[in-house]
């Protein structure tokens, strides 16, 4: 067992950035995730590992600093919250279009617009359907605990470099701000410049190695036939990810008549709802998507063959429910229950919604 600490989600993930051997963090303050950069600067990672931490002049600049460093094969990360992530969408689309690996954290808050600073899950569409322009995808991980915040960093970088893709860790103000016990892993070594050159010399901008062609990182292709071919290449990559990288967790689904589908903070509340329902003799289970994209659509389709109904529970006006419905494809009843704008549902409210919308409905 590793070292145990009591930490906020935002602090745990900042510690994970250092221990993962990340080369650079570029960010801009925004509530409710400012602790990430505050923790990093207080920890002096430049002394601990040589990691660069730089406060940018805007989220626009931060994502483009990330883009620049990601072009060089370095491990780079930024964090923000909803309005800041909106501002980053241009860079996110360029990153997708030039296939460089990097990791982002969105500690989601209520919206739209400036909204509020309370937890929400209303950025699902932006994260999963593509907030920027063009046909692109990004892997989206949804932590549901402070431990997940820590553990998802290593997973995110593994996937980012495996597929040369942006991986978004989609948290929210609840998981970012609350304190829980977290097990801290070993310090990983940062790769040396030489190791980076050996591993990524086929694409990374490290200075033209004598004997090789110059490397170019661009999202531009003026020949539309070639651009279509590039898009086909991207779609094939996304199909491979959708096939291989789906992650989800289940609770009491074996004998379930009804399934709650919920991720992140909502899934924590739904755990309690499952217990309350079981006490009442209702066979209710929980499916928690860990990857929001790729979505566990095959598993949901399988479950739809034998359960009577599903309730998508989100801190939004109903976003993930569209993907649940697509996966279920009309076979059983699917409804949405949400609190939003920074409000969080109680386990009792969820049970009542299940009883009125699905069981009795």
């Amino acid at each position: 067992m590793g070292e145990l600490r009591l930490m906020k989600g935002n602090e745990a993930i900042a510690e994970a950035f250092i221990r993962e051997g990340v080369d650079a963090y570029y960010g801009y303050p925004i509530t409710p995730q400012s602790e990430v950069m505050e923790y990093l600067t207080a920890e002096r990672p430049e002394k601990r590992t040589g990691m660069v931490v730089l406060q940018a002049e805007s989220e626009l600049a931060a994502i483009n600093m990330v883009y620049g460093a990601a072009c060089t094969g370095k491990k780079v990360v930024t964090s923000s919250s909803s309005p800041g992530i909106s501002l980053m969408q241009e860079g996110i689309s360029y990153i997708a279009g030039s296939e460089v690996p990097c990791v982002l954290l969105n500690v989601v808050r209520g919206g739209p617009g400036l909204g509020d600073i309370q937890p929400a899950q209303s950025d699902y569409f932006q994260s999963v359907k593509g907030g920027g322009h063009g046909d692109y995808r990004q892997i989206v991980l949804a932590p549901s605990s402070v431990q997940d915040m820590y553990d998802h960093v290593a997973l995110a970088f593994e996937l980012a470099f495996k597929y040369r893709i942006l991986v978004l860790i989609q948290s929210d103000g609840l998981i970012g701000q609350m304190m829980e016990k977290v097990e801290i892993g070993e310090q990983k070594k940062r790769l040396s410049d030489k190791e980076i050159k050996e591993k990524y010399d086929s694409w990374a901008l490290t200075g033209r190695t004598p004997g090789r062609e110059h490397n170019i990182v661009t999202s531009l292709e003026l020949d539309q036939a070639k651009q279509e071919q590039f898009n086909i290449h991207l779609q094939n990559k996304y199909a491979e990810i959708a096939e291989k990288e789906v992650l989800y967790e289940e609770m009491e689904v074996e004998d379930a008549d009804y399934i709650l589908v919920a991720y992140g903070s909502s899934s924590r509340i739904c755990r309690k709802t499952v217990n309350l329902a079981r006490e009442k003799g209702l066979k209710v289970g929980l499916l928690r998507p860990i990857t929001l994209w790729p979505f566990p659509e095959k598993r949901i389709a399988e479950l739809a063959k034998r359960v009577k109904g599903m309730l998508s529970v989100e801190m939004s006006a109903g976003q993930m429910v569209e993907d649940v419905k697509l996966a279920v494809n009309g076979k059983i009843k699917v409804e949405h229950f949400g609190r939003y704008g920074g409000m969080i549902h109680t386990p009792e409210e969820v049970l009542e919604a299940l009883e009125t919308k699905i069981i009795g409905g």
């Binding site: 072009c71 200075g207 110059h214 170019i216 990182v217 661009t218």
Partner: protein, 256 residues
């Protein structure tokens, strides 16, 4: 008449000019008469002469020079419009020993990317910005730029730039020279052999400053845009001397 063969003429002792090996063999996409080609050559010659081609990373954003990576045989990134300084900061901070430069036009550097430019200069990021100022958006067909002169006709100021409506042309180079983060700031041109020699010297100095780790080095090159200005190359250079240079005077502005 003596029979002269081509081999008798092309001898190493007769060689007065050759293409730097850091140019790729792709034909330049710039309009004939435009200053971009010469500016590219000067940067590449400096990199070759300093022997730093395997240590240099360039960033070129949206604009006429968005395809600079096609011509420059060094590792290069293409940046979103205005964001080249931020990308270059991202690169330089993780590779402090490499040479990093951006190559930006006036719309890019002085309009959409003003914030990124000012803040990179203010932080004193140890890199070089090459700023091509031709007073117009060339790539998109000659619209008004922040550096378009008063009264100058463009496709979005068909009756000339009206200062009351659009404000004054911005002097970014003087502006960044005010910031303690910049170590070398100069403005040159590439329209005559003498100007080219001075511009090359400035670019060399800008790259040398990176070696000395003194801060951000910034070289503006005032250029013509004969297509956008709807003039012949010769006329556009004359117009540039008569109108651009008085407002954007050439010379060394700051050196630390």
């Amino acid at each position: 008449m003596a029979d002269i063969k081509i081999e008798d003429i092309i001898k190493s002792e007769n060689l007065v000019f050759k293409k730097t090996k850091l140019f790729t063999d792709k034909p330049l996409s710039y309009c004939p008469g435009c200053g971009h080609g010469v500016a590219h050559r000067l940067i590449l010659e400096v990199i070759e002469e300093m022997g730093i081609e395997s240590e240099t990373i360039g960033v070129a954003p949206v604009g006429c020079s968005v395809l600079a990576y096609e011509f420059m045989n060094i590792d290069m990134a293409q940046a979103p419009h205005g964001r080249a300084p931020a990308m270059a900061t991202g690169i330089k901070r993780v590779y402090p020993e490499k040479y990093v430069f951006t190559y930006q036009g006036d719309g890019d550097l002085a309009a959409i990317g003003t914030s990124e430019t000012i803040h990179a200069c203010n932080r004193g990021d140890n890199m070089t910005i090459i700023f091509i100022n031709n007073g117009i958006y060339g790539m998109t067909g000659g619209q008004m730029a922040p550096t378009t002169l008063e009264g100058m006709v463009s496709s979005t100021t068909p009756f000339g730039r009206d200062i009351e409506l659009m404000g004054h042309p911005i002097k970014m180079t003087e502006l960044v020279a005010q910031l303690p983060g910049t170590c070398y700031v100069a403005r040159h041109a590439v329209h005559t052999p003498a100007a080219v020699r001075k511009a090359k010297k400035a670019i060399r100095k800008a790259f040398e400053k990176q070696k000395e780790k003194k801060g951000l080095s910034f070289v503006e090159i005032v250029s013509n845009c004969n297509s956008g200005w709807k003039m012949t190359p010769v006329d556009s250079n004359k117009w540039m001397e008569e109108h651009m240079f008085p407002y954007y005077p050439l010379g060394e502005i700051k050196e630390i």
